[in-house]
């Protein structure tokens, strides 16, 4: 089997080392074509590979049956096209695959998923180890040229090899490359080669594919036409030198949401000075896009500017208005005092692009029949993108996704290509998709690779599973959940044991039994981090088979669980704690009148349930208390066992100054709030009641939650402050919801090791990797929360769309310098109300930070004041619909024309959970 071997020499950076590697060439690598009788398929049940009769799309260029063979650049840039279900029977060479792997990890992952999809008939051919397709690098040949040649040799081999199959129909291999020299060389060697554009355009039956072509090839053409707008980017090697020597600074580029001509660069590292650099003006921004890692050069001090407070939106349709731009830039340069100036710089080069596909809408070109259009992303920080499409008419008014391909120096806007149509704007499905994408919530269907790790159905508990497990099926276990809940991850039992004590058990779904560390299922779950609950949709962290069936502790079926069992006396003092993996059979699934309803959507009327009437049920707090207890017990156990790498959750105490606003606000109502400790705070909140103003207590609690910090996951080896402020617990973790939170799975694994039911694996005992994972989990939780809020906001808008203008009571939550933040209890809706507006005379505003109060003309606003507002939907901008409010009572005297104020409101729901549960502290922790 081993035919020959050659030596590959390599030098590494730094010292020159001669590395000798073996390279075996083989003669048993199959070509992957199903019709081929010469090659014996390697191993039974291997990938299906290429079809015997390639059923690709009809092409006018090559009418016969054919396979496609793309080169590296094509694969990197046109992955969107290759992923289209129309494209089938593609040979991906190992050379190409390796190059892709080095150059772009995301594309590599995508192409691998495609190869693994049996319906796409992609085949990866190991040409570098095939005796007849391996070539050595020639003297003077760059490795790029060598790889190009290797690809051509492989194409040639394929063509000759397929001729030998002696089938009636000859299958041709078509080489796709966008590199002209490579194509010419291929044609010289007698290979059929096309550029991607040529091929895709020849697909007569699928004209829509053309739009998805990335327009990288245009770059060459455009250099001639149009004048250069932007300075050149300095190459990476020089940038790195410059960063080392301190000429340039490396940082993350953050575009300004309000002003497209301004951005901030957050410099990496821990330098005290120049942490935040302002970049102003089109030329200085130099084609950087939000989230890119860039190198900036500081300008001389006399060129420094102050952050502008102007709102500027890029609305130019024409590209030739450069002069216009300069005018706009001048607006920014308002004279300001010296101490307002901030370090200012200009972008000299891009270190890493962080482009992703962007959601947005097409701004159709005014010119009829034009194929080039501008695309306006939903995120205002992203510049508009020029795309080429023939379906502008159909895409108008739709939410679409566009990917950026490049930004040539002579182009005002980056070039991109159309990726996907999400559906019409304002549509529920579409908007949900958009908000998921914009909050970076991974929500694609689980890939084949992931699903392959699911247990095979019908599933039953085997002898193997019973190892290390206690049989607790005889216990009367029950679960308590809100109605309609399908992912039940906790259950309880309680019984008297002989000695007069009680045995209480919390049983948690044993998800870590099904999700083994390191496999694709595990990786997908850790990437998702959490299940995201939207108003009408749930984005699962683990596939449904697990979340709603095998892991869900439903009644009257045997389920695997992880149990935490205490022995308690009747005073509820814990005498003994033990943990075990178990098998349980829940006797009954109890439901409770849901206290979690925040926005119960009636599909007919979009009516939200009146949130104030719902009260916390005792059952719920009982379940909660036991879950908290289990979490604390487990946290202590895993920390004792693994002081270096326990995954814990902490909630830092807020700095005392955070409470100032709360104390002041309470004082204005003659109430005292003590904030020295969490306990004192809770007690003083309990006492803070006003007989004439029953809602005051709730308002105070809402205000208190706003003063708090975010709770976060962390690795015990990397931190020394473990305290959980909200729960007043010295240690805490998440153990009880492994179906919807990944952190719990890690905690399960740690606990399983601690009790000897499972073994560790390298990643689990690496605190740096764990810390990294915590960072991702915290990010995912934050994004999930934002997505949730956005979803609620969207549904609120839907609701008010049908209601028209609504007049409601509201309370002032905060008073700001130019606005008040109000809460409308009936809808749990919160909004910021500005007193300044464009094109309207500004009323006289006077802000007193001591009380705090805001005087608008003659009217004084205090925190907790009751006002009346009109709520309506402002849909003047279809991409950014928002709630608008009109202050009705008390009437503010208008400076001039007494037309009602149009006050903007940032809609924001506060969940019932937060309000009522603050005492038992769930949502924010």
């Amino acid at each position: 089997m081993l035919t020959s071997r050659t030596f590959v020499k390599r030098t590494r950076a730094g010292a020159v080392v001669k590395v000798v590697r073996e390279h075996y060439l083989r003669d048993d690598i199959a070509c992957g074509a199903a019709a081929c009788r010469l090659c014996t398929p390697a191993g039974s049940g291997s990938a299906p590979g290429l079809e015997a009769r390639p059923s690709g799309p009809a092409s006018s260029l090559c009418p016969g049956p054919h396979f496609l063979l793309p080169d590296t650049n094509l694969l990197l840039h046109q992955i969107d096209i290759l992923e289209d279900p129309v494209i089938k029977n593609v040979i991906v060479l190992q050379t190409v695959l390796q190059e892709v792997r080095h150059r772009s990890a995301p594309v590599y992952k995508r192409i691998r998923d495609v190869i693994q999809n049996p319906e796409k008939h992609f085949y990866s051919f190991t040409n570098e180890h095939h005796r007849e397709t391996y070539i050595e690098q020639k003297r003077g040949e760059t490795s790029n040229d060598r790889n190009d040649r290797a690809i051509r040799v492989a194409v040639k081999w394929y063509n000759e090899h397929l001729k030998k199959t002696e089938d009636a129909e000859k299958i041709e291999v078509i080489f796709l490359t966008n590199d002209n020299t490579n194509k010419e060389k291929a044609l010289e060697e007698g290979i059929t080669a096309y550029t991607c554009e040529e091929y895709i355009k020849s697909l007569t039956a699928n004209p829509e594919l053309v739009d998805r072509l990335a327009c990288v090839s245009d770059e060459g053409k455009e250099i001639e036409g149009g004048k250069i707008i932007f300075p050149e980017h300095i190459p990476l090697s020089k940038l790195q030198q410059g960063i080392k020597s301190g000429i340039y600074l490396q940082g993350t580029y953050r575009a300004n949401r309000e002003n497209y001509l301004e951005a901030t660069v957050w410099v990496h590292g821990d330098a005290e000075e120049n942490k935040e650099i302002i970049v102003q003006g089109l030329k200085h921004l130099n084609r950087a896009i939000h989230e890119d890692v860039v190198a900036v050069e500081l300008l001389a001090k006399d060129e420094w500017v102050a952050p502008s407070s102007v709102v500027l939106q890029d609305d130019g349709q024409n590209e030739e208005d450069i002069e216009n731009e300069e005018e706009k830039e001048n607006i920014l340069k308002t004279s300001v005092s010296k101490d307002m100036l901030r370090p200012t710089g200009r972008v000299v080069g891009i270190i890493k692009r962080n482009w992703r596909p962007y959601c947005g809408m097409l701004s159709k070109s005014q010119i009829k029949e034009a194929r080039r259009h501008l695309f306006t992303p939903a995120d205002r920080r992203i510049p508009r993108i020029r795309i080429e499409t023939r379906q502008a008419d159909t895409l108008e008014g739709q939410r679409i996704i566009v990917a950026i391909d490049g930004w040539p120096r002579n182009s005002r806007y980056p070039n991109g290509h159309f990726v996907k149509n999400l559906g019409s704007a304002g549509d529920k499905e579409t908007e949900t998709e958009v908000l998921l994408l914009e909050h970076d919530v991974p929500h694609q269907a689980f890939s084949q690779a992931v699903l392959s790790f699911l247990p095979k159905m019908p599933w039953s508990i085997t002898e193997e599973d019973m190892k290390h497990r206690e049989d607790l099926r005889h216990l009367t276990v029950c679960s308590v959940d809100p109605p309609g809940c399908t992912d039940i991850d906790d259950a309880l039992h309680c019984r008297e044991i002989g000695n007069g004590n009680l045995e209480v058990g919390v049983h948690i779904a044993d998800v870590s039994h099904f999700i083994r560390p390191g496999n694709a299922l595990d990786e997908e779950s850790v990437k998702r981090g959490t299940t995201v609950y939207l108003c009408e949709k749930r984005i699962d962290m683990v596939p449904e088979l697990l979340s709603s069936n095998l892991c869900s502790l439903r009644s009257n079926v045997d389920r695997l669980a992880f149990s935490c069992i205490w022995e308690m006396n009747h005073k509820a003092e814990i005498l003994k704690t033990r943990f075990t993996k178990s098998i349980i059979n829940s006797k009954v699934t109890l439901t409770l009148a849901s206290p979690e309803v925040r926005f119960h959507m009636d599909s007919e009327t979009h009516d939200p349930i009146d949130l104030q009437t719902k009260e916390l049920k005792e059952t719920n707090s009982m379940v909660e208390e036991f879950m908290l207890l289990a979490n604390i017990s487990v946290a202590q156990k895993i920390y004792d066992e693994f002081p270096e790498f326990a995954l814990l959750r902490k909630h830092p105490a807020p700095p005392p100054s955070n409470y100032d606003i709360l104390v002041k606000a309470a004082k204005s109502k003659n109430l005292e709030i003590k904030t020295d400790s969490a306990k004192a705070l809770a007690e003083s909140l309990d006492k803070a009641e006003s007989p004439t103003f029953p809602y005051l207590n709730t308002l105070l609690r809402i205000l208190t939650t706003r003063c708090m910090m975010q709770a976060v996951y962390f690795c015990s080896g990397m931190d020394n402050d473990f305290h959980h402020y909200g729960l007043a617990s010295p240690i805490y973790t998440h153990f009880t919801s492994p179906i919807r939170r990944y952190a719990d799975i890690i905690v399960h694994r740690l606990l399983a090791v601690a009790i000897g039911a499972d073994s560790t694996y390298p990643e689990l005992t690496d605190k740096h990797k764990l810390a990294e994972m915590c960072k991702n989990l915290n990010y995912r939780h934050k994004m999930a929360q934002y997505a949730q809020r956005a979803s609620v906001a969207f549904h609120t808008q839907l609701f008010f769309k049908t209601k028209g203008v609504v007049n409601e009571d509201a309370y002032i939550l905060f008073v700001r310098k130019n606005a008040i933040v109000v809460l409308i209890p009936k809808y749990g809706l919160e909004g910021t109300v500005f007193f300044e507006e464009k094109d309207k005379p500004t009323p006289k505003l006077e802000y007193n930070s001591e009380v705090p109060s805001l005087t608008v003309e003659d009217t004084i606003f205090h925190v907790f004041d009751k006002v009346k507002v009109n709520i309506m939907l402002d849909d003047s901008n279809i991409q950014h619909q928002k709630m608008r409010m009109v202050l009705v009572e008390p009437k503010v005297r208008q400076p001039k024309i007494s037309k009602s104020f149009f006050l903007f409101i940032r809609s924001n729901m506060i969940s019932q959970k937060k309000k009522s549960r603050f005492q038992t502290h769930v949502n924010i922790f």
């Binding site: 081993l2 590697r21 390279h23 390697a42 695959l97 080095h102 990866s124 390191g518 990786e523």
Partner: protein
């Protein structure tokens, strides 16, 4: 995680082997005329030379010689040009670095289990192994020493061969046990299991595991390592 991909989706390792395939093996006996027995073994790019002197009278202090069996003296070294980090941080005086010393100790342990020492009471057998080129598989010195002992006509329970195995965990698909790791694969950081067998008796003379390995995965890796030993034995038998 842009490390080395141990096994590609198509089922090939970085050097073109399938997971269960060994590297190319070449061996010669009696390469050194003055030694009582000698062998030269190539496993892939690993090249090892072994020489055996003895059995002869115990040199130096006789007190350390056991009365009932032979005294085995093992020494390992690697050539300055061996590469693979074999001689890094070597003390200036001869005598070998720590790694060589460790290897000598292991080698002695293995050989003591294989040599029928009771046939040579109060005598000494010297085994010297030199790594000429290193490309993973320091265990090749065990196999080479075994060959040299056979060449010297020392009575053995059976031929001694050593092999290794590791575990690749591709992102998609189940973990795969890899036989006969190369240097690049060793450097990738996965677990490595080295096994030495005394072929005739089917017993393990050495079993060394670096890095943690899930208990449930030990079996396939151990099987792969033993298969590597069997494969090597089959080849060496023909020398």
């Amino acid at each position: 995680m842009a490390g080395l991909e141990l096994v590609s989706d198509a089922g090939f390792r970085a050097d073109g082997r399938r997971p269960d395939e060994l590297r190319k093996v070449r061996a010669r006996l009696g390469v050194l005329a003055r030694a009582d027995g000698s062998a030269y073994l190539e496993q892939g790019n690993t090249k090892v030379l072994a020489a055996v002197y003895g059995p002869h009278e115990v040199r130096g202090s006789r007190s350390k010689a056991p009365p009932d069996r032979a005294l085995l003296c093992c020494r390992c070294s690697s050539a300055p040009f061996a590469g693979g980090g074999e001689r890094r941080r070597r003390p200036p005086q001869g005598g070998g670095d720590r790694r060589s010393g460790e290897r000598a100790l292991l080698l002695r342990g293995v050989l003591e289990g294989a040599v029928l020492g009771q046939l040579y009471p109060r005598s000494q057998i010297d085994v010297h192994v030199q790594v000429l080129q290193a490309d993973g598989g320091s265990w090749a010195s065990v196999s080479a020493a075994g060959l040299a002992l056979q060449d010297a006509g020392v009575a053995l329970r059976g031929p001694v061969v050593a092999g290794s195995a590791g575990l690749a965990e591709p992102p998609a698909g189940p973990p795969v046990a890899l036989s006969d790791l190369s240097a690049a694969e060793e450097a990738a950081g996965g677990p490595r299991l080295v096994v030495a067998t005394v072929a005739g008796s089917g017993q393990l003379a050495l079993c060394q595991l670096s890095a943690r390995l899930h208990q449930e995965r030990l079996r396939p890796v151990l099987d792969a390592a033993q298969a590597a030993c069997r494969g090597l034995h089959a080849v060496l038998d023909g020398v």
